[in-house]
Subunit: 137 residues, 4 copies
């Protein structure tokens, strides 16, 4: 990745993760948080003390998914249900597509340049933390 | 690879992809498009500027799926729903089976000799582009 | 991906592939050729008639490798031999790291913005075709 | 996850990563750095601006390897060469075993409680950065 205004720098990622972590602390739920760049590649990840180890992969891949399709995984969740138009998408891309809330794209100047992924609590909690993280971008 | 009338040549694939690309441009939705041969192996792939990176894998595997079972992935979508006879097929073949619209077999002289896969928009858009692509064969 | 001057457009990829294909025809060896963007994600792939089906994956992953480490896979081949400093790197990244000639980064304005991968002949042939492809960027 | 003195907390990981990052800056080579806990599971990862995207996976798995066998990957490199007693170990564990320098266990009170992994430069550079990181624990 180019590490310029068209993507997400490590400094950007730290600011984003810090905001998400603060929100996770505020709601009292330890989380895994991850940031990917415009190419869908990991920039940074943290697992808060006590957060689920099964959520390491999920947080990273929620971020990947949000960038891979330029949408929130929360909205993908709806269209990926049985009977809906993207049902089955969750097995594509080598199992990296996460179809539940917590992944949100990062935009700059109207362009999607990366994404955030959060996992460790309920869908509502993951989404709330991801939204707080994105707001810091 | 037979590279004769029993399969799909690179020239065939280019004609097919060009027709699909024209349709994608006409509907204003950038797409990933792929063509596989009689062996289910990739002949050519293009990702139009701005198309989802998560759809690279999906387009190639929609084409694979259409040739693997000699049917459109749109029709497979129906029989692969929960409760239907092929439910669960999407985890077979190492995650290469795509069960939503956009993959269509290529026929010549009544024989299936390859397939097209399209991903990048709604199920309807993917299907429309795949149909335009197949029509050029 | 941003699809601007910081990466590789589909038009760029077509020009690159056409130059490589011309070279492959000139030396009489059918090839698989692939182009990835700055994020390491596939932009386009072609398999020339008669080229090895085992080289589909190799061409795509030579391109990925060249971008993943910003070097030619030919030079990586040396440092990845037994006893050398990167021996064992070929099993990383899920088996996507190719450690033999045929993958070359694409540079623009002194920045690496993607890569080309070629597979289908001897190491020398793959390298020659990749060099011809890169020269068209 | 124990999250006590028997493992590595996120605060520990941050201190370790910061020390490694400082060293990487001092030698002028951007790196990927990762910390895993006593269970071999990721606690935190950073990719410095401009560091190789192919090294994301490698840094995480060097750390995993160092904890998986309680040794430095530099020493494993020797016993994993052709003809040596662990030759072939690099394909075990689903491709997660890295057999070149840059992964070092983290010890506390004589017990191994996690590990650091660094990737992004020469073997010597990776090792130097990993050593600086470990020293901060």
């Amino acid at each position: 990745m180019t590490n310029d205004k068209h993507s997400v720098s490590l400094d950007d990622a730290r600011r984003i993760l810090a905001a998400g972590e603060a929100k996770a602390n505020a709601i009292g739920q330890p989380m895994n948080l991850a940031v990917v760049d415009a190419g869908g590649n990991l920039v940074a990840h943290i697992r808060m003390d006590g957060a689920w180890i099964g959520s390491i992969d999920i947080s990273i891949n929620k971020a990947f998914t949000a960038r891979a399709f330029n949408l929130s995984t929360k909205s993908l969740a709806q269209s990926a249900q049985p009977g809906e138009q993207y049902y089955g998408i969750h097995v594509s891309n080598g199992g990296r597509i996460m179809i539940f809330a917590g992944g949100i794209p990062l935009q700059r100047d109207g362009q999607i340049v990366g994404a955030v992924g959060v996992s460790g609590g309920s869908g509502e909690q993951d989404q709330a933390v991801a939204e707080a993280a994105v707001a810091a971008f």
